[in-house]
């Protein structure tokens, strides 16, 4: 991907407070890039879900919130990294309704539907990197 990065914030994800900080940053960047109110709500919620995954499943990690541009389109790119146990059954986790933490189990599948681009790289025992992008409409 040859996305132009306009700004980048690296944030820790080690407490529940950090989850709030990450999603507020994602919301601010999305608003600044001109995303509509629905898109802002979607990417903010995805940020909250994915940051919480990093915290609870990945045993903490960090996140980047970037303002990006591609072919004149503006958007926000979120990257979440952890060195946790990884996801053993990725297709099941992405299908939704399956949880290892007695919750709804919709965080990953739901986030995927909330964003325009979704990329996940997970290695059992090594960790997980999730990258998502939400674009402003033309």
């Amino acid at each position: 991907m040859s996305d132009q990065v306009l700004s980048r914030d690296d944030l820790p994800v080690t407490t529940e407070g950090d989850v709030v900080t990450v999603r507020r940053r994602a919301q601010a960047v999305a608003q600044a890039r001109g995303l509509g109110t629905f898109a802002v709500a979607a990417v903010t919620t995805a940020a909250s879900e994915l940051a919480r995954n990093t915290l609870t499943h990945g045993r903490g990690g960090d996140a980047s919130v970037e303002a990006v541009a591609r072919d004149g389109r503006q958007g926000v790119r979120l990257t979440f990294r952890d060195q946790g146990p990884g996801i053993a059954d990725l297709s099941r986790a992405l299908a939704g309704g399956f949880s290892t933490a007695r919750s709804l189990g919709l965080g990953l599948s739901g986030s995927r539907r909330l964003v325009d681009e979704f990329d996940i790289d997970t290695t059992p025992g090594k960790g997980t990197v999730v990258t998502v992008i939400k674009w402003a409409r033309f």
């Binding site: 709030v20 919620t45 939704g96």
Partner: protein
């Protein structure tokens, strides 16, 4: 106040011994400083003047000294403080005295930046005098001892400042927690819980407990949860709402979710969360109408 800090910083005989050991303050250090007390007394006036030259020379630190009489008062305290370094003791009474200084700084809002800078000036002034008037070996030993004790004092001042700040934060958190779960009785058998702000796991649990207690107390049949003040509903918040709904249902009441914005409605659908266990209405007013109808009542216009 100071006794409280002694306790908070874990300073009893053992805590003090451990802190002193970490700063490597020995009885020899204290005795050595005591032998220089005469020198300290003869320069104390000048040291204090130069220290206040620094503090009064910066507008930000100057602001902490409103008038000449307050400057005179703190200079006098500073004399005592300075000579305290050369008294040859570092016991509980000494620490208590030092903590009083930290507490006073915290009370007036003097941030560590200012007194760390002032301690720096202090050390340089002490160095100058010791090296100016003692033999090299003696001066070096005295400077080492003085540095240990000044850094020890600094640690107490900063720890006091942090402890006082944490107390303030804890007080605010407790106040916010109390304010954040108001359960309002709207009508006989109808409760309203207006949620405002971020719902984290800790708060969600408290909300559920408070609400369930009130449902039992008021024998409520309908509970309105208004989320107009909640910035976002992710799966964790949705999960908490659904679990609360289920618990409320076990007590024989129904839950109505109101204050749902168009954006949140769309997000919930995209997340794939099924909230059909709750009645939903966009506006609180409609939620109240629904709650009353669940109780077999309705709001009607007055007969003309």
């Amino acid at each position: 106040m100071v006794t409280n800090f002694m306790h908070r910083l874990n300073i009893d005989d053992r805590g003090l011994a451990s802190r002193r050991a970490f700063f490597e303050i020995t009885d020899e250090d204290l005795a050595r400083l005591a032998t220089h007390r005469g020198l300290a007394e003869s320069h104390s006036g000048e040291v204090v003047e130069k220290l206040y030259h620094l503090l009064l020379g910066h507008p930000e630190s100057r602001a902490f000294f409103p008038d000449d009489s307050s400057v005179r008062r703190v200079k006098q305290l500073q004399h005592t403080y300075f000579l305290g370094l050369f008294e040859g003791r570092c016991d509980l009474a000494y620490v208590e005295n030092r903590l009083r200084v930290g507490a006073a700084h915290e009370r007036i809002g003097l941030a560590p930046q200012w007194y760390i800078g002032a301690y720096g000036r202090y050390l340089r002034l002490i160095f100058d005098h010791l090296f100016g008037e003692l033999g090299a070996a003696e001066a070096q030993a005295a400077v080492q001892s003085a540095t240990k004790l000044v850094l020890f004092d600094m640690s107490l001042a900063i720890d006091t400042y942090i402890a006082a700040n944490l107390d303030t934060v804890a007080r605010h958190q407790a106040a916010i927690r109390e304010m954040s779960t108001p359960v309002i009785k709207v009508h006989q058998g109808v409760l309203l819980l207006p949620l405002i702000g971020t719902v984290d796991s800790h708060r969600a649990e408290q909300i559920m407990e408070t609400l369930l207690m009130r449902v039992v107390e008021e024998q409520a049949r309908a509970v309105i949860v208004d989320i107009a003040g909640v910035p976002l509903v992710d799966t964790m918040v949705a999960d908490h709402l659904l679990k609360t709904t289920e618990a409320v249902r076990l007590l024989g009441a129904q839950t109505i979710l109101t204050g749902i914005s168009a954006q949140i409605a769309r997000t919930i659908v995209q997340l794939g969360v099924d909230i059909s266990a709750m009645h939903t209405r966009a506006r609180l007013a409609d939620g109240i109408v629904l709650a009353l109808s669940l109780l077999g009542r309705e709001i009607t216009a007055k007969a003309p």
